[in-house]
């Protein structure tokens, strides 16, 4: 316990516990995971909040993420500047949202951001096409892709603007039986 205390102050730990779904043990474990990505960059003492940012290449190479077709999007959404480079805070944020305890609404909100590739706050057809291509590794023909995208918009677009807004997306995803169990990374 002695050396753990020096990483964060008690207040920091409490604050992190208030802001995430993690217990202190998990926060420390996450810190070590973060530090293991680049031991030479990340100091062992975080009590004075050093401004350390790890590049996306390191984040994306984590075993939890490296096989995920959406890893770049995840990193971009949770990074502060949208470039995929993450501070420890962003890192904690990411795994907090993807943890088991996070509520459906929060998960849905971030899932929407992840699938919104062009950041225009709507999932439009190009976003959907990208999603399908990532999910199937471009195995579908363009006609099939476009059919699938049209079907998705047809099914989920409640307000008839031809693209999915956050409300549409939540309306659809909240009814999905598998969403909570699959939009989840155990760390």
């Amino acid at each position: 316990m002695g050396n753990k205390q020096t990483i964060f102050t008690q207040e920091q730990l409490d604050a992190y516990q208030d802001c995430t779904f993690f217990t202190r043990k998990e926060i420390l474990r996450l810190f070590h995971r973060y530090r293991d990505l680049a031991p030479q960059l990340v100091p062992l003492d975080y009590s004075d909040k050093p401004a350390v940012t790890l590049p996306y290449e390191l984040i994306g190479s984590m075993p939890e993420l490296k096989d995920n077709p959406f890893r770049q999007r995840i990193a971009e959404v949770f990074s502060e500047h949208g470039d995929g480079n993450m501070t420890l805070d962003d890192f904690l944020d990411m795994f907090s949202v993807l943890s088991e305890m996070a509520p459906r609404d929060l998960k849905a909100y971030y899932a929407f951001k992840i699938y919104d590739f062009n950041n225009d706050d709507y999932i439009c057809k190009s976003d959907l096409e990208k999603t399908v291509n990532k999910l199937t590794r471009n195995e579908l023909t363009p006609e099939e892709v476009s059919l699938v995208c049209e079907k998705v918009i047809y099914e989920a677009d409640v307000d008839n603007d031809g693209k999915l807004s956050l409300a549409d997306f939540q309306h659809m995803i909240i009814r999905a039986p598998d969403f909570l169990s699959t939009f989840h990374i155990r760390i």
Partner: protein, 864 residues
């Protein structure tokens, strides 16, 4: 939608705070330079406004980031207006202000507290969360003490302190609890390799382990340990001693392995316990404890299973059978974020692709039933075959158990004869499921439906086997009961004669007591039943482990190493690696638990064995799955599977409760073994305790309560309640369905409206198709007219054929072309389109809406 509400509330809060701070600013300005004693409160105001402003700003930022900036600003403006008006009114009456202020402050503190507790649910950046959190905490810290002036102050402060302590304690407890959850990393590893479905089995196993640990603690703490510590020692009573005839072989391994010999006469089995009412210096009422623990094992299990079922049902508000979002769900929820292994990822990609393709095919040709008669015939045939298998296996078990009873009467039976029942049951459990799977190939169901059938059939097999086993065992028990009467007399007579003989020889010296090993004793059917269950459990464990070892590990080794020198590719072709059989494993676990529940009353040590089994199988199966299994090629996750398994567990629990309850309620306990010996029925122990240990009125109350006249109405009441609740839930369901339908209709309506717009294009086309001949025929004169009218404008006659071409081409072009046709020619259609377009003045681009490229679809599926 909830979130939206949340945010609007938040905005309200923001505006309220805003208002409050404004007012204070205003007041401060008013009061500036007035009385010095107001300094304190002013300071307070200043202190309050500063964080408030920051907060406001941050919240504004937040609103902007969530793209509801406009609403937020509007509200804020409103708030500002309100604040100015209220401030002007407030400045007039300063007396009521402090009260109001206090209330306001309290409210704000409450709000901040709420904010702190829900901070983790906010979709904000961590930096922002941290800063807002700190501000809120500072605010609460600062003004908490100021609240509750006067008499309530101390109480308030105390309450606050206790609340703080409570929060801290809860957090520590949470931390402790998560530290106690074992195998988190192991499961994570499995999860990342095999996806969440395989991991769900291990989570289920872990849960089961927890439940069994509690049962183990209950039984060991309240029954076995008191008996071992305080009860009569081994060898003091006939029931605690190995009979003379068996003593020579009682320590042989082959005997111990069959749970005979010393193990049979140990605290692991029912027969060892004495019927002494109280034991030891604690006056521990062991028979009573034994009975209550037996009941509470079932009670606790029922409670836990039902509670977790309810929790699962609460969590999954989603109705998985909603057909509205097939593609959307495939798109957004099919990737399993837990996957962290390239091989699994490849499989997942492939399975997602196939599932998309399947859905597309389904969409394109909804029903393609080729030769439905053949398929129907095959399905009926498959079901007949499987029913034959089930009946056969049931008969086989009955036959074998019957045979084992004749074997048990004979001497010198071999190892196989003694273990025939267990072997046959295990073999059936091993070979029938694959057989069913082979037969199921005939049926050609969709894999997901096929999985359900398969599960149901295996369940029926296991259940049938278990119940035939029980029936046969019951026969055995009845036989033993008949035998017991005879033995009882013999024992009585033996003891009497021994006493008489010793008394006759020498009446002054106390006769040497008959050694407990020599006393003839009854068959003790309870211990027999307990031994049967223990043996069944142990053989089940062994068979499971051997199956894993041979079927998975050896096969994997063979495939891996022989592959270098084999004619075909072993890894890809026939044997290949095994897949992890989730459903079979879960069912095995569930049935094993059923046996534990059934057997634990007659063999208290059984739960200990089961705890060991679960512990080892956690490690063993984790190792096996990681070393020798491959991820599923096609994972069909049964949605809501958790509750499905729990439902099975509940069913098994109920079914295993039945025989135990039957034996407790209607069979007489053995006369010379077990805690209830000498009583007519086992439950007499409760009556005895109440009569002897409780005051008289408790016994009276109990006798009233146990009166059938009271029990039957109570049951009736319960049935009626169930009926009523059922009716209510049905009504809710109907209302739900109604609402859903309404929503559907609304959507449909909007779609139709939109499709009308879309269909204007095809409609136009159709009209134009009709019109084109006429336009073509009419065009020469009209154009002649045109020419006449246009000739002053200097249009050359050369343009005429060009225009005609455009007109001829327009019907085949998209509907949009119609807009460019001169109004004089499409005078029929033009007003109509206008009429349809009229209800949508707000649409920015009535023609170029996004669904334009697929105009035909809207008409193609009107019933969707």
């Amino acid at each position: 939608e909830d979130k939206e509400e949340d945010e609007s509330k938040e905005e309200d809060n923001g505006s309220q705070q805003n208002r409050a701070s404004r007012r204070k600013n205003y007041q401060r300005k008013n009061r500036d330079g007035k009385k010095a004693r107001e300094e304190g409160s002013q300071k307070k105001d200043r202190g309050k406004t500063a964080p408030n402003k920051d907060q406001k700003e941050s919240e504004n930022k937040e609103k902007k980031t969530t793209k509801r900036g406009k609403e937020g600003e509007n509200k804020q403006k409103k708030g500002r207006k309100n604040s100015t008006s209220s401030a002007s009114s407030n400045s007039s009456d300063e007396e009521s202000l402090s009260e109001e202020e206090l209330a306001m402050l309290k409210e704000q503190v409450e709000q901040k507290k709420k904010l702190i507790s829900t901070m983790r649910n906010k979709p904000w950046r961590m930096v922002k969360k941290l800063s807002v959190l700190r501000e809120a905490q500072d605010f609460v810290e600062k003004f908490e003490g100021a609240l509750g002036k006067g008499k309530g102050k101390k109480l308030y402060a105390y309450k606050m302190m206790m609340a703080k302590k409570w929060v801290k304690f809860k957090r520590d407890f949470e931390n402790f609890k998560t530290q106690c959850i074992p195998w988190e990393m192991k499961i994570k590893e499995v999860e990342s390799h095999f996806g969440s479905s395989v991991a769900s089995y291990f989570i289920f196993l872990r849960w089961m382990y927890g439940v069994n640990l509690v049962l183990f603690g209950l039984i060991f703490g309240l029954v076995i340990i008191p008996e071992v510590l305080m009860g009569m020692p081994y060898g003091s009573l006939p029931r605690k001693t190995v009979p003379r005839a068996e003593q020579a072989t009682a320590m042989d391994f082959s005997v111990l392995w069959d749970f005979e010999g010393y193990i049979k006469y140990s605290a692991l089995f029912y027969g060892y316990y004495n019927n002494q009412r109280t034991i030891g210096w604690l006056k521990y009422r062991l028979p009573m404890a034994y009975f209550m623990v037996g009941i509470s094992v079932f009670g606790y299990s029922l409670m836990v299973v039902i509670r977790s079922m309810a929790r699962n049902a609460n969590e999954s508000t989603a109705d998985g059978d909603d057909d509205n979002f097939i593609f959307s769900w495939k798109m957004f929820t099919s990737w399993d974020y837990l996957i962290g292994n390239p091989e699994t990822a490849d499989n997942k990609f492939a399975s997602i692709t196939t599932s998309f393709k399947e859905s597309i095919v389904d969409e394109q040709e909804s029903n393609k039933d080729e030769n439905i008669h053949l398929r129907r015939f095959l399905r009926v045939l498959a079901n007949v075959l499987i029913i034959c298998c089930l009946c056969g296996s049931g008969y086989l078990i009955y036959f074998v158990v019957k045979r084992s009873q004749t074997f048990s009467k004979m001497q010198n039976v071999g190892w196989y004869e003694r273990n025939e029942v267990e072997i046959v049951m295990s073999l059936l459990g091993m070979f029938c499921p694959p057989l069913f799977e082979t037969i199921a190939a005939l049926e050609n169901y969709h894999p997901r439906i096929g999985l359900k059938w398969q599960l149901g059939r295996i369940f029926a097999l296991f259940l049938g086997n278990l119940y035939t086993f029980l029936l046969a065992l019951m026969d055995d028990v009845n036989e033993k009961l008949a035998e017991e009467d005879v033995v009882k007399n013999i024992t009585h007579w033996t003891l009497l004669s021994h006493h008489n003989s010793s008394a006759g020889n020498d009446s002054t010296v106390t006769p040497p007591p008959l050694s407990p090993a020599d006393v003839p004793r009854g068959p003790c059917w309870e211990t027999t039943v307990g031994i049967e269950f223990v043996r069944l459990t142990v053989s089940d464990i062994l068979v499971t482990y051997i199956t894993i070892l041979v079927g998975d590990f050896i096969r994997a080794c063979f495939v891996r190493f022989v592959n270098y020198c084999w004619c075909w590719d072993l890894e890809a072709e026939f044997p290949s690696y095994a897949e992890f059989d989730i459903s079979g494993n879960v069912l095995g676990l569930v049935f094993n638990q059923g046996m534990i529940w059934m057997g634990s009353f007659y063999a208290p040590g059984l739960v200990g064995i089961n705890v060991l089994r679960l512990l080892t199988s956690m490690y063993f199966q984790c190792w096996a799955v990681m070393s020798s299994n491959v991820p599923h090629a096609r994972v069909f996750k049964a949605s809501k599977s958790n509750n499905f398994y729990m439902g099975l567990l509940l069913l098994i629990l109920f079914l295993s409760l039945l025989p135990v309850a039957y034996t407790i309620m209607s069979l007489p306990p053995s006369f010379d073994c077990g805690p209830f010996s000498g009583k007519k029925r086992m439950y007499d122990v409760i009556q005895e305790t109440i009569e002897l240990d409780f005051p008289l009125f408790v016994a009276k109350i109990f006798s009233y309560v146990a009166n059938p006249g009271l029990i039957i109405p109570a049951i009736l009441l319960m049935v009626l309640t169930i009926y009523y609740l059922n009716a209510v839930s049905k009504a809710y369901q109907r209302a739900n369905a109604e609402l859903k339908k309404k929503m559907q209709m609304q959507r449909e309506e909007e779609k139709n409206k939109r499709n009308n717009k879309a269909s204007t294009n095809p409609m136009l086309q159709d009209l134009e198709d009709l019109l084109t001949p006429s336009t073509k025929t009419e065009s020469p004169p009209k154009q002649a007219e045109d020419k006449k009218t246009e000739s002053p404008n200097g249009s050359s006659p050369v343009r005429k054929p060009g225009r005609g071409e455009v007109l001829a081409g327009s019907p085949t072009a998209s509907g949009r072309g119609a807009a460019f046709t001169p109004p004089s020619q499409v005078f029929v259609t033009q007003p109509r389109t206008l009429g349809i377009r009229a209800p949508y003045p707000g649409q920015p681009r009535p023609w170029g809406h996004p669904l334009g490229p697929v105009p035909g679809r809207g008409r193609g599926q009107p019933c969707y």
